[in-house]
Point group: C2
Chain length 590, copies 2
Amino acid sequence: MLERSHSGMLTLDQENQTVLLKGWVQRRRDLGGLIFIDLRDRSGVVQVVFSPESKEALEQAEKIRSEYVIEVTGIVKRRDEGTINPSMKTGELEIVANELTIISKSKGLPIPIEEHIDVSEEIRLKYRYLDLRRKSMQETFILRHKTAQSIRQYLNRQNFLEMETPVLTKSTPEGARDYLVPSRVHEGEFYALPQSPQLFKQLLMVSGFEKYYQITRCFRDEDLRADRQPEFTQIDIETSFMNQEEIMKLTEEMLRFVVKEVKGKDIANPFPRMSYQEAMERYGSDKPDTRFGMELKQINEFAATSNFNVFKHTVENGGQVSALNVENQAEQFSRKDIDQLTEFVKIYGAKGLAWIKVDENDKLTGPIAKFFDEDDANSLREQLGAKANDLLLFVADQKQIVYDSLGALRLKLGKSLGLINEDQLNFLWVTDWPLFEYDADDGRYHAAHHPFTMPKLEHIEKLTESPEDVQAQAYDVVLNGFELGGGSLRIYEKDLQYKMFEALGFTKESAEEQFGFLLEALEYGAPPHGGIALGFDRLVMLLAGKTNLRDTILFPKTASASDPLTEAPSQVSNEQLAELNLELKKKESQ
Amino acid sequence: MLERSHSGMLTLDQENQTVLLKGWVQRRRDLGGLIFIDLRDRSGVVQVVFSPESKEALEQAEKIRSEYVIEVTGIVKRRDEGTINPSMKTGELEIVANELTIISKSKGLPIPIEEHIDVSEEIRLKYRYLDLRRKSMQETFILRHKTAQSIRQYLNRQNFLEMETPVLTKSTPEGARDYLVPSRVHEGEFYALPQSPQLFKQLLMVSGFEKYYQITRCFRDEDLRADRQPEFTQIDIETSFMNQEEIMKLTEEMLRFVVKEVKGKDIANPFPRMSYQEAMERYGSDKPDTRFGMELKQINEFAATSNFNVFKHTVENGGQVSALNVENQAEQFSRKDIDQLTEFVKIYGAKGLAWIKVDENDKLTGPIAKFFDEDDANSLREQLGAKANDLLLFVADQKQIVYDSLGALRLKLGKSLGLINEDQLNFLWVTDWPLFEYDADDGRYHAAHHPFTMPKLEHIEKLTESPEDVQAQAYDVVLNGFELGGGSLRIYEKDLQYKMFEALGFTKESAEEQFGFLLEALEYGAPPHGGIALGFDRLVMLLAGKTNLRDTILFPKTASASDPLTEAPSQVSNEQLAELNLELKKKESQ
C-alpha cells in the first residue's frame, strides 16, 4: 500500500511519482472541464487537478466542497511555465489525480479558513476548531511547541529535573484570588488551584533536588485584562546554591538559546540591566520598552527656579516635573491632537499636560512658553536635547502619577508614530526592586513579589522600622515592554521568614496557621535557593509577533472567564452539589 | 572563585586538586581526633575528613549535626588501602577539608534519611521534603524526569506537537465524578477539572493538527484505592488518518524507546496480543500478568458429564467451571491453607473453592476426588496437565465470578509462590473489547471505554438491537498485570455518534445539551482519528520497580484525598464563599 505523503512537503524530486494525500479541501475551482483543488494538511497546501482522463475521480470531485476531508491518489507533475505560483511553496508542481475518496463532508463554514477574516472573537472561540485551521494559528502552535521543547532541551542539558507539583493544593489568602475546589470527602473544606508552585518548588529545594523546572498551569481568579487568562502557563525554575548573578545568567542563556532555536535570531549578550528606580525615572515604567528612545527627563531643578508656578509649586510640594521630547513632530501635532493627549494622561491621574513646541528658529512656542526667559529656554532645550520642530510634553504631579502618565504616553506615542521596530526583541533585566508595596486601602505593606523573597542582606535591619526602604534580591526580565518573568532569591532561614511575615502584618499564629509547613521545613537543613518564573504564553505571544494573548492559547477563556465553545462554566446537577455539601446562595432580591 | 564540584561525581582524576562542595551532612563520626562526615548532594555522597591540621575547620566541624547544609573546601585524596569502601561510588577517595562554612542548621529529624525506614506513610507525607531526600526517592524522580523526556524525544521526532488543553472545563456526568470549581463571575455555575483531555484532543484533530500529545494532569473525584490518586498524570496521544495498527505500532515503538533509554533494556518486538475474551478465559483478567503461567482452564464439557453435581448443575444453569493447576505444590498446602484460599475467592463472589491433590501415584485425592472415576481422572489430568504433587483448584459459578475469583487467586498464588520474575517487563496488547458494559444497578449500558469509541464497522448495525455483541476498535496496553493505557479509534461521523449516545440512553436533546459542540464539530470536515492515553505515574512506578503509586508522585494525596504536609483541603473564609455565592449546607442532625 502506498504510504501517505504530505501536501506541503512535495517537491519536483518526486516528479512523475504516484503519491497518496489526505487532507482538507482549501478551495475548489472549475475551469475548462477540469477541477482544481488546493489540498491542505498540517504541512501545507498543494494543487490537485482532476481531468476527464480519470472520469470517476472527476465525477467524485464535482461533489467536493470546501473543507471536505478527502483522500487522493495522483501523479506529481511539473506545472506549465505560465501556471507556476511563486507565492506557494509547492507552486511549481501539481498532482494529477486518478483516484479520489471523500472521507468526511463539511457544511458551510461560519468562519472562512483564511488569514484575514472579519469575524468577532466570540465566534472565533465558539468555532475554535475551525479558527485553529487558519495558517497563522497553526504556525503559532507549532512555534509554541518548539519553544517548550527548546526550553526543556536547554534545562535538561543543565541537569535540571522536570518535576510535577500538585494542582489540588491549599488556599492561601496572600496574593491573588484563588480558584477553589470543594472537597467531597472533607465536608466544608476546599482545595485551591495553585497561583504558582512557589512553596512546592521551595520544598523541593529543601528536599535536595537542587535544580527543578516545570512548564505548568497556574490559576488566578481575577478580573481579566487583555493580557491575562484565568489559567496560564508558567516556566517555573528553582535552584539551590546559586546566587542572583548565576540565576540571571542561566535565564539569559536559556532565553538566548530559545530565541535562536525558534526564531534563528541572536539577542543581546548579556542582557542590559537597569534598576527599578532607573526604569521608572527614564521610562516611567517598571517594564520599559527599550525599542525606542523618547525617555522621560526629570527637570525638578529647572522647574523649581522657573517662573511657571505650576512647575514651581509642584516641586515645592514634593512632587515631580518630567518631560518627553517628541522629536521632529511639532508640526504634526495640532492643538486638538494635544488635547487628546491631555485626556489620555488624565486616565493615569495627571491633572494636565503642559506642552511647548520648538519653532524653526529654535524658539519656544505655546501657551506656557511665555513663562520662560531666554536663559530658561536655553537650559530647557539643553536638558531635553530639543531642536527645531520638537514637541515637548510635561507632567507636573506626584511622582507616581508622573511616571504612570508619561510612561503610558511614551508608549502610546512610540506606537502611533511608528518608532518601534517590531522585529526587535529587546530583553532587559530590572533589578533592585523594593521588597514591599504600601497599600493605602489596606493600610499595610504587601509583598511586591511574594512573602518568600529574600531582602538585600544590608537592608534586613530596616524590615520593621522602614519597610519602604528595603530592597529585594529580586530581578524581572522584561521583553519589549512586557514583564516576561520575575525571580528572586528566597528566604531560607526561619527567623527571617517570621520577620518578613511580621512586616506583612501577620501574627506569629496566623503565619504558622497558613505557612507552618514552610516554616517547619526551614528548620531541617534548608539550602540557599532562588529561581524565576516566566510567562510562557506571553513569551510565545512575543516570539510569534502576536498582540493578543488568546491567540497563543488553544482554548482560551473570554474576558468573563467563559469558553464559548464548551459553554464552561455551566450549571451542575443538584446531586453533584449535594455530594459536595454545598448550596447556592439564594438571591436576596427576588 | 572555585567552582562548585558535586560529591557523587568526584573521581581520583582530581587527586590532589582543591574542590568546593556544598550539600547535606549524611552522617558524622568522630574517630581518633578526626571528624569524618559523609557529604551528600543530588549527585551522591563523598567522605570529608577534618583533622587538626585545619584547626578552624575542625572546630567548626564539631558543631555539625546530621542534615546541616555546609560548604567545604578541601583536597581530593586517595584513601589508604584499608579504608577503601567498595560499596560507595566515591569510596576510593576522600576530601581532606581545610575550610568549612555552616550554611544552614537542622533540628533532630522526624524521619531518618536512610533507605529502609520504619515510619508510617502519614509521617512520610507530612515531612515529604525529608522523605524525598532518601536515595531511592531521589532516584525515582530522576527516573520520572528521564521517562518524560524520552517520551517527548520520541514523539517530537515523529512530528507530534505537544499542546496544552484547558484545566477549567465543562462538567459532563458521563464517566467518573468530576472535581468542580465554582465560578465567581457566573453565579451558580461551575467549571470541572478534566478527567482526560478527550474531547479537546478530538477537536484538535478536527482543527487539522494531525499529531498531538500532552503529558498532562487529569482529575477524578473517586474513592481512592492504592493505585489511584485524585490527580494523576496521563500521556495523552491523538492522531489523524492513522488506523489501529499504526497507532499500536507507534505506541509500541515509543515504549520500546522509553524502556531502552531509561532502563537500558530491550522489550518484546512486537508486543504479544490477545483478545479481551482470550485474556479473560486464560487469565481471568482483562489485564493479564503474563510473567508466569498457571493459566485458567475451562472444563465445562468435563463438568457437564461428571458425577459431581456442583459442577454439573453449574454448567446446566449456564455457569462455568474453570481450574488452576498449582504445579508441584500439593504437599505445601495444608487443609488450613486451602481454607484460606477459599475465604479469598469468596471476596470475589465465589461460593466456594473445590480442590484436588494429585498424589505421588498420580491418583486424585481430596474431598471431591470420589466423584470422579478412572476415566474422569485421566481426562482431568490430561486437560489440566496435572502431574504428581499438583494442586488443582476449581471454581464453579457464573462466568464473571469464575474469572474474577480465579484471576485474583492466580495472581495471589503467583506472588506468594515466587513465580514472578520481577525483572521482566511483560508488555501486552488486549484487543477486541466490548463497546459496552451492562450496568445492572442502572439498568442501562455504559461505554466500556468512553462514548466516543468507534465500534467495529461490521458491528454497527447491532448498536441498537444487541449492544452487548458490539466490539470496539479499542486496544489496551498492559504491563505486568497493570492496565498501562487504553486507546481507540474515535467516531468521526455525527450520525454514528448520535447512535452511540442513543445506545447509552441519551435522548437527542440530552446528547446535544452536553456534547453539542462535539456533534457540531463533526459536521465541518472531521478527519478519521484515534489515539491512546497511558498512565504516566503507573509507567514510572513499574519502571522504578515500585509497588506504591504514591512513591512516584512528589506530593501525593492520602486515601482520603488529603495532603498531610500542607493540610489541603482546608477551610476557607466566609468572604471567599460569599464571592462564589456559595453556602455550606447545614448539617441536619445537630
